[in-house]
Symmetry: C2
Subunit: 209 residues, 2 copies
DNA sequence: GCGAAAATACCACTATTTAAGTATTGAAAA
DNA sequence: TTTTCAATACTTAAATAGTGGTATTTTCGC
């Protein structure tokens, strides 16, 4: 039914125009074929089941669930699925999470089309691929400690303008404990105060608005 | 040289894939034609001069200068240019600035392709177009006061984690004056503290990281 | 089970921010 | 030209945040 040696591609993206662009590019390659499209994370698994693609291009930011979670649900059922994360730009935290969760590549949408098809071929051949641009960003924060789940919870409250006392009440812990968390957060993010901590966390994708 | 009644379109976007998508869409329309492309804001004016398009699609976020500034430089030389701002999503401040600077429309990249071509036709016919989605967002912040240039300067320093005293030294004003500015900023943004002020300003596009 | 890391709590102290006023100056707008 | 707005400066007092300790409990990986 399908020709041999044709790389079957599935694209998940909520931007119809980006879909068009990717499809035009893919279908111009003699060794590639676009076999399915999804616009929402919740449709991705079903579409994957139907089309059984060789390579999946997954947008990180989707209207319903995160592209990473959509990928995880696919990998859960199809452990051999090869997924390339395709995104505008996110902080190092998202990249790390995507790779740790099993992504075979992580590409910026600003890349030249040639590079995209090259990476698709590499990934299809069983390799992993991270562009130097992104690898550099990863390296910058390599030795740095990551925030714990509790610290992120606290940081979100801080970003909402809550006082330490109110954060304590919300999370059912004492104000003193909140202070300790905030101090650890500032230390880990190299922030001089809570305000800069929030700004840095937003830039790095640790929290979102 | 060019057929009559064909809408000549110029696209400025730093995403090659988006370019492809837009071009594919445009060239599929019987009454439209893609006549030029630019990937940087600094190239936009020169390309415009060469191609003299009917409608320009301008990405807000470009690698070098802002899409708004690129549009302004075009409108400066060609006051009748019709520019549609095309973007992922930005805060209300950017939208306001784009429209005030002379944009004929402001579209989200998440829109269906049909809508894009419809808006291009409307704009080409001399109308302005803002989708309800965006109009709503604009309305939300309608009566709210805008920050002065000085307040934005101060706010940027706040976001960088500076103390009021240090901000004063940086901007050559007294710490007391900084306090007044910060107070006004918080009042205008309905923030309970400087931290939330920064978070809100980032979301609304008043400052960027 | 052991050791490490995380979350919790308390104390005491200092630094900083925030509130709520008044007031002067220059520039822009009506 | 008057009026408004923005920026500037000051004071006082209270609230909040940040620092540096110690210590207990739980959870997780080895």
């Amino acid at each position: 039914m399908t020709e041999p040696n044709i790389i079957r591609i599935f694209s998940v993206d909520d931007h119809p125009l980006m879909h068009e662009g990717i499809a035009a590019l893919i279908n111009n390659q003699p060794d590639m074929e676009m076999v399915a499209e999804a616009f929402k994370g919740s449709d991705a698994l079903a579409q994957f089941r139907l089309s059984q693609p060789d390579v999946t291009l997954m947008d990180l930011r989707l209207p319903d669930i995160s592209g990473i979670d959509a990928m995880i649900s696919i990998l859960n059922e199809f452990p051999d699925a090869r997924v390339i994360m395709l995104t505008m730009f996110e902080g190092d935290v998202e990249i790390r999470r995507a790779l740790k969760s099993g992504a075979c590549g992580y590409l910026l949408k600003t890349m030249p089309p040639k590079e995209l098809v090259a990476v698709i071929r590499r990934v299809h051949a069983g390799k992993k691929h991270i562009p130097t641009e992104i690898a550099q960003n990863l390296a910058e924060h390599l030795g740095e400690e990551t925030l714990t789940a509790r610290e992120i919870e606290v940081l979100k409250c801080v970003a909402e303008g809550n006082r330490n006392r109110d954060i304590g009440e919300k999370l059912f812990i004492s104000e003193e404990t909140v202070k300790v968390h905030v101090k650890h957060i500032m230390d880990k993010l190299y922030a001089s105060d809570r305000t800069q901590a929030v700004a840095i966390a937003l830039r790095r994708g640790i929290i979102q608005l």
